[in-house]
Amino acid sequence: MAATPSVSVQAEAFDTGAEVAALAAGRTDIGAVVSFTGLVRDLTGDLEAMTLEHYPGMTERELTAIAEDACKRWPLDGVRVIHRHGRLTPGDPIVLVVTASAHRRAAFEAADFLMDYLKTRAPFWKKESHRNTAGGWVEAKAEDDTDAARWEKGKKVQK
């Protein structure tokens, strides 16, 4: 049975442990659960807040499409994606991806893929406000496109 992905876009925080537990609850055919938690990072000590704008409607649609794509590429038993929007402060969790599979490689690769695709396709935009310097919109990274391109069909991937 192919997994039906569960996707949420919300202002509220999430509980990584509860989501990991929920994906495997009551099942004995899942061997591997991988979670990725993304947090607001403040490398300079100057970040006051990070505000995430998104495109309601398209965000849910795009996250679901990415998750369904992952379910086609790997034998997954569960996929959970949560992405927050609104105002967050350093250390706050922003995004959660959880994958469950009978196989460890599938769970790892699918979570990795989901994050790469989410980073380049999900319509979210981050704006930083700093304490002592000008804030502004976060620029997209070319590195994220390179990461996502790893999963394109026919491309061989080298680490």
Binding site: G38, L52, E53, H54, Y55, G57, M58, R61, E62, H83, I94, V95, M115, L118, K119, T120, R121, A122, P123, F124, W125, K126, K127, W137, V138, E139, A140, D144
Partner: protein
């Protein structure tokens, strides 16, 4: 047709959405962007550098050469930075 702007584009245009009657000679999204640029200085600034703009047609990523006809909503925004 509903036209949407997000993030820095929304700030430059001054608002996030507008409903417009798009002339029938507007074929592609590139045409639409050029036509929208004439609406205000903010629109012109927001839509100047198409290399740095992404587009969605009815909430699906498309290129600038995608057709406008039949769309309910078209959104312009900078490259995404979620995750």
């Amino acid at each position: 047709m509903l036209i949407l702007y997000f993030a820095s584009l929304r700030e430059r245009v001054g608002y996030g959405e507008e409903t417009l009657d798009v002339p029938t000679d507007i074929v592609t999204i590139a045409d639409l962007a050029r036509w929208l640029s004439t609406r205000s200085e903010g629109h012109s600034e927001a839509l100047a550098n198409t290399a740095a703009i992404r587009v969605a047609r009815d909430q699906v990523h498309v290129d600038f050469d995608a057709p406008v006809e039949g769309a309910r909503e078209i959104a312009f925004f900078p490259p995404v930075t979620g995750g």
